[in-house]
Amino acid sequence: MSPADHRGNRSKGVKVSQATDPEWASGLKRLYDRVVEEPLPDAFRDLLSRLDDSEHK
């Protein structure tokens, strides 16, 4: 009837999600970051400067 009185209950706050995060989960982030960190191809710089042109029209 009375609540079970487990000692040490409070110290067991382990987060399961972090413990079970698979190795490849960080790989996803790396796949993404790898592209983010690539130098921007010229085509994009050209495009951005063309946007400038239309702005000054």
């Binding site: 490849w24 790989g27 982030k29 790396r30 796949l31 592209v35 983010v36 690539e38 994009f44 951005l48």
Partner: protein, 211 residues
């Protein structure tokens, strides 16, 4: 393509607003490239998609609310452009094998440890809706709420898609059994396109939906 007509009044943007917009747009381009690469797996096609997105974003800049996330806003545009392109390709009835072959030997991923390329391959095998959910949350670092806004669906839907995507990836990577699906096999490609239609049908909650 003119979809829904927009009759809403839009604020007039100053030249300074435009400069600010362009700064922010420029800053998110690398992220657009990363998202696009994850979505379609083909670097050349991904970059085309990003350029298309930049032009559309620029043309629609009056609809961007300053102070909100440029990355989220442009991701919606990119996503819609991706879905549209995929469907258009189907109508052309041809899958560009030349491009696919180039990509298979493309230098983009060469210095990558083998398991990262496996991961990418496995990612491309996922149904489109799960792939994009996992990309947004697991790779792009968006919250479930933000991802739901980008995809135009409920937060719970995103959570379940991410969960299933993770489970499927885990299984493929653990078993080492990653079906070839994305870039070589036209039949598989058609299957992907059909899924895309379903994904596209469910979209449309966000401000950028008609872009």
């Amino acid at each position: 393509m003119s979809g829904a007509a927009t009759t809403r009044e839009l604020p007039v943007r100053s030249a300074e607003d435009k400069r600010a917009f362009k700064r922010e747009l420029t800053a998110v381009v690398p992220h657009l490239r990363a998202f696009a690469r994850g979505l379609c797996g083909r670097p050349d096609m991904a970059d085309d998609l990003v350029q298309e997105t930049m032009l559309k974003a620029w043309a629609a800049q009056d609809r961007f609310e300053p102070g909100t996330s440029m990355r989220a806003w442009t991701f919606v545009i990119l996503r819609n452009a991706y879905l549209t392109d995929m469907r258009r390709n189907r109508f052309r009835g041809e899958y560009d094998e030349g491009v696919a072959e180039r990509v298979l030997t493309a230098p983009a991923g060469q210095e990558e440890p083998i398991h990262l390329s496996d991961l990418h391959r496995a990612l491309l095998v996922l149904p489109a809706e799960r792939r994009e959910a996992l990309l947004l949350v697991g790779a792009g670092g968006f919250s479930y709420e933000e991802a739901a806004n980008i995809c135009g669906c409920a937060v719970g839907t995103i959570k379940s898609r991410v969960g299933r995507a993770r489970a499927a990836l885990a299984e493929m990577l653990e078993s080492g059994d990653i079906p070839d699906r994305s870039s070589e096999d036209p039949a598989a490609h058609r299957a992907i396109l059909e899924e895309l239609d379903q994904v596209a049908a469910g979209q449309g909650e966000t401000a950028a939906r008609s872009l």
